[in-house]
């Protein structure tokens, strides 16, 4: 196994884990407020398209990011309106958003860019580029540390750092701020929030909108940092893996980070194991590694190993007592 170098694998892990982390934190805020969000995938897809389209037309990657967040928030508002105001089924609404997003982005991409459902490939100036940290060259001579500093700690795009910073921030907001306390209470026992004279609906709209902003960043990352343009259905199930990471993380920010890093590592290793022949087994079954996040989620939810307990009131519309 020559060339099985650890540093590129870890760097790839960070890159792959970033959109998962953003989307899983999105799911966290939504579900903590009491709204189940299976529409992470669709919001990321719409954001990826809007970000790629805006960046391609304007040439400005930050306009792309804003467009992505905006598009994701529009879908989020629909979700909140359906789930909070109309008290409709949250799962049905989430699925509808995923399917609408798939059809809408494919339709608009073909009609606006006439490139078979893609956006034009983005030039480097309209993408988030890896940041070279100051002092990388000075440290380049140092054996291990130099490469770790240049290629793992440095050499990532701005959104990777943003995602990592959001973990302590989310933990602080959820567990140390008044808003976070109220949001969590809203997901556990909304009647208490209502009795305290705080609007359950407003808190839930806030939870869904925070989730939409984070999904917007995640989608923009996939189209303008990891990739260079939009392709049909390019989220490829990452919204659902994020959902799995959120569940495995037990609806808490730091364990979610761990789950996302683990999924990222699995993915990075799986790509390198493709075509490797194991003695006695034959070609390595890459699908087994790809299926692992889903399998782990099923096992954990079933309580065979540990127990995943969702916010108590998530999924149930709140009806004011009369």
């Amino acid at each position: 196994m020559e060339g099985f170098d650890l540093i590129p694998i870890l760097a790839a892990t960070l890159r792959v884990a970033t959109p998962l982390l953003l989307a899983a934190l999105a799911g966290l805020f939504s579900e903590r407020s009491g709204i189940i969000d299976v529409g992470l995938e669709g919001k990321m897809l719409v954001a990826a398209f809007a970000a790629a389209a805006a960046a391609s037309v304007s040439g400005n990657v930050f306009l792309g990011l804003l467009a992505g967040i905006g598009a994701s928030c529009l879908l989020g508002l629909v979700h909140a309106y359906a789930c909070v105001t109309l008290r409709g089924s949250q799962v049905v609404s989430g699925m509808a958003i995923n399917i609408v997003a798939s059809g809408l982005t494919a339709t608009l991409a073909l009609a606006w860019f006439s490139m078979g459902g893609q956006t034009p490939p983005l030039p480097a100036s309209a993408r988030f580029l890896p940041i070279t940290l100051p002092g990388s060259e000075a440290l380049a001579g140092v054996p291990v540390l130099g490469r770790v500093y240049a290629a793992l700690i440095g050499g990532q795009t701005a959104l990777v750092y943003l995602a990592l910073l959001l973990v302590p921030l989310s933990a602080w907001v959820l567990y140390r701020s008044r808003f976070g306390l109220r949001l969590r209470a809203c997901g556990e026992h909304p009647a208490a929030i209502d009795t305290a004279g705080i609007s359950v609906a407003r808190l839930r709209y806030a939870g869904v909108l925070i989730a939409s902003v984070l999904c917007g960043v995640a989608g923009a990352y996939i189209a303008t940092a990891q990739g260079a343009g939009f392709q049909r259905d390019m989220i490829a199930g990452r919204g659902y893996i994020a959902l799995a990471a959120m569940i495995l993380g037990g609806w808490r920010p730091w364990p979610i980070l761990l789950a996302c890093l683990a999924f990222g590592l699995l993915d990075a290793v799986a790509i390198r194991l493709q075509g490797v022949v194991l003695p006695g087994i034959g070609a390595f079954p890459v699908q087994a590694i790809q299926a692992l996040p889903y399998l782990l989620t099923v096992v954990l939810l079933a309580g065979f190993v540990g127990r995943a307990i969702p916010p108590k009131a998530s999924g149930t519309p709140y009806v004011k007592e009369r």
Partner: protein
């Protein structure tokens, strides 16, 4: 919010209005892309119903959607949301293919029913596990069935690419099944032999009739509907909900397996990657539009079959509108008929009550 509507308005008027909203919004989007919505809709109608060949394709797609629509609807009657029809249909394909490839020596009269049973059995098995996990371990069926879709996809990719692939073949598919396993087409009903509609359509109709009998004419069906309406009442009445959950999920998965029968035995005659083509998700739209009733499911399956076939034709006729617009329509129908279902209810109810009956 629970404004009472007359039965006909609830069953016919409201779904129609929601469908019109979805189509209207789609027309606006087509307009926004700079194409002519009238031309697009005309191409859609002609492409789906304009010739015997087109109708043959429409009915072929509608067969898939009737099966997944029934699968989702049956689970809904018991208060369960089965998002896993896609994966269940995929696994059913494995059952169909294993039977068709390994029992070649049997005559058609035995081989075809066995292959169908194998498909239904595999689909039922793949759906019963999430049912069992919810009943006995308390894991949420929605999340588990989502995960099982991905597990099915990984498993099938592995099996087709590494195990079942035809020797020497480059494309990921099995060898052709024996012709003894072919479901006959409906040429005797006047469809051109090029249209892939086949005997599975008749099976879908029979399945719809069977589901209706089971749910509205048997004690088991009554118990299922009680469980769907109110789990508390069901518990008080001594209904074994764990057992019901596993059984109704198995039934749902077996129905989803009909997609494998229609696709593999009726049209493709081999197992190939991704043959389920999203029909499991379309089934959600079909069930919601059809109000979870077998008759409604058949009608809305016909509608969505026509949309799918017409959409493919439209993509040829109207250059800037892709066939994916059908996916958009499906999504909007789920949104309006499902998630936003309460939006028009109060207004419509007020409107109808003002008029003397």
């Amino acid at each position: 919010m629970n404004a009472a509507l007359p039965r006909w308005a609830d069953l016919i008027l409201l779904p129609l209005i929601n469908l019109l909203l979805a189509l209207g919004l789609t027309a606006l989007i087509v307009l926004a892309t700079g194409s002519d919505p009238v031309a697009a809709l005309t191409a859609l109608a002609v492409g789906s119903l304009g010739s015997a060949d087109a109708i043959g394709y429409t009915l072929y797609y509608a067969t898939n959607m009737a099966f997944t629509g029934l699968a989702v609807a049956v689970a809904f009657q018991g208060g369960l949301f089965n998002i896993g029809a896609e994966g269940q249909a995929y696994l059913a394909g494995l059952g169909v293919a294993l039977a068709a490839l390994n029992l070649e020596f049997l005559p058609p009269a035995l081989l075809v029913p066995l292959a169908i049973l194998a498909g239904a059995g595999f689909g039922a098995f793949w759906a019963a596990i999430p049912g069992w996990l919810q009943a006995k371990r308390g894991s949420h069926i929605v999340i588990t069935t989502i995960m099982f879709n991905f597990l099915a996809a990984s498993l099938m990719v592995y099996l087709i690419v590494n195990v079942l692939i035809a020797p020497g073949s480059m494309s990921p598919e099995t060898r052709r099944f024996t012709t003894a396993a072919d479901l006959p087409g409906l040429a005797s009903f006047g469809f051109p032999s090029s249209a892939p509609v086949n005997l599975a359509l008749v099976l879908a109709l029979l399945a719809a009739g069977g589901v209706w009998l089971l749910i509205w004419r048997t004690p088991w069906g009554y118990a299922l509907r009680v469980m769907g309406e109110s789990p508390e009442v069901a518990r008080y009445a001594g209904i074994d909900q764990g057992r019901m959950t596993v059984l109704v999920m198995a039934l749902s998965g077996a129905l989803a397996g009909g997609v494998a029968v229609n696709e593999l035995l009726g049209a493709q005659h081999k197992l190939l990657l991704g043959f389920t083509g999203g029909y499991g998700f379309t089934g959600i739209a079909v069930a919601l539009m059809g109000r979870n009733h077998p008759g409604g499911v058949l009608l809305s399956a016909l509608l969505f079959g026509a949309l799918t076939q017409g959409g493919a034709e439209m993509a040829f006729e109207v250059p800037d509108v892709p066939s994916e617009i059908v996916v958009l329509i499906q999504g909007l129908v789920i949104l309006f008929a499902g998630a936003l279902g309460n939006m028009l209810r109060p207004g419509l109810s007020r409107l109808l009550q003002r008029k003397p009956a």
